[in-house]
């Protein structure tokens, strides 16, 4: 049911973000039919217009394609998917590093963390 939203930003943005991850990680596979606005709205406990807005964003990014009368599908264009994944990883890492920087975690800290984890 309804998840807890981060209070500081738009709900549609947060829904677009979480659906984007599900598309990029293959939880919604390439070429598959996407759930309807109404079913997502019910599942998430949000206004259908808000879901609609989130899906338009994903359509704008080329991740979803709307086929008249049939519904929405995850794109089959592997170039679109892979470049979206690269872009997503980059922006995710950027935010991780900028947060780390704020609290004084250095490159050395990262390196020793990674070597411990691997070792």
């Amino acid at each position: 049911m309804s998840w807890r939203f981060d209070p500081g930003s738009s709900v549609s943005g947060q829904i677009a973000y979480s659906l984007r991850i599900k598309i990029l990680t293959g939880e919604y596979p390439s070429g598959s039919q996407f759930p309807t606005v109404r079913s997502l709205a019910l599942e998430l406990g949000v206004n259908p217009n808000t879901v609609q807005k989130a899906l338009s964003v994903l359509e704008g990014e080329g991740l979803l394609e709307s086929r008249t009368t049939v519904g929405r599908f995850v794109t089959e264009d592997s170039d679109v998917l892979s470049s979206a994944l690269t872009a997503f990883k980059k922006s995710f890492l950027e935010s991780v590093f900028s947060k780390a920087d704020e609290i004084g975690i250095t490159k050395n800290d990262f390196e020793s963390f990674l070597s411990n984890k691997e070792g």
């Binding site: 049911m1 309804s2 939203f5 209070p7 406990g45 206004n47």
Partner: protein, 234 residues
Amino acid sequence: MSEPILVCDKLCKSYKKGVPVLNNFDFTVEPGRIIGLLGPNGCGKSTLLKLIAGLLVPDCGEITVCGIKRSEETNKYISYLPERPYFSTRMSVDEMISFFKEFYADFDELIARKMLFDLGINPKSQVKTLSKGTKEKVQLILVMSRRAKLYMLDEPIGGVDPAARDYILSTIIGNYNEEASVIITTHLIADIEPVLNDFAFMYQGKIHMSGDADETRNTYGKSLDQLFREVFRC
């Protein structure tokens, strides 16, 4: 642009001379919207809903529902959940269903029965034996089972447990259609804000601030709940 569901034009109402509850109040509701009417105690929310439902008569101004001036006629477009229960406690839930069926041509018994079942309410029970929260659920079920144009829910989730709250909100979403609108008043803003299209903060009988719920969250970087606490800080 389709016709607004509701237009309030310069409404005034006072219970005591010189103490206006609503003061030149303008308010328009477009179809297909879920609107949160939010404001501190005594700001006029319930009075507004009572005026629209025809339980009170405005001192001045005009109310138009679906293009028709407020009258007996407009009552059939409005499904209203008042802040206090208005049912006879001598009835059983089944009798209340028959009562609604008889009273309202747009009442859908199947929907009501499904919701009662989902919430585990026995239709044979006498209303007076139900807990406060269960009574509220029954009322809300009856109100939401009408195919109305305008639903007005005055504090619909205040007395019910969080799980039932989720169910009620999903009922409101599931019931959503392009032709009807829902006005919800509540103090539990955090619970309902993801469901809203629009919000209006009411203060001293006027709209203090209003807009698109999600855009406002984005603009202010705050939830409506946080914004409310700031705007109405005591």
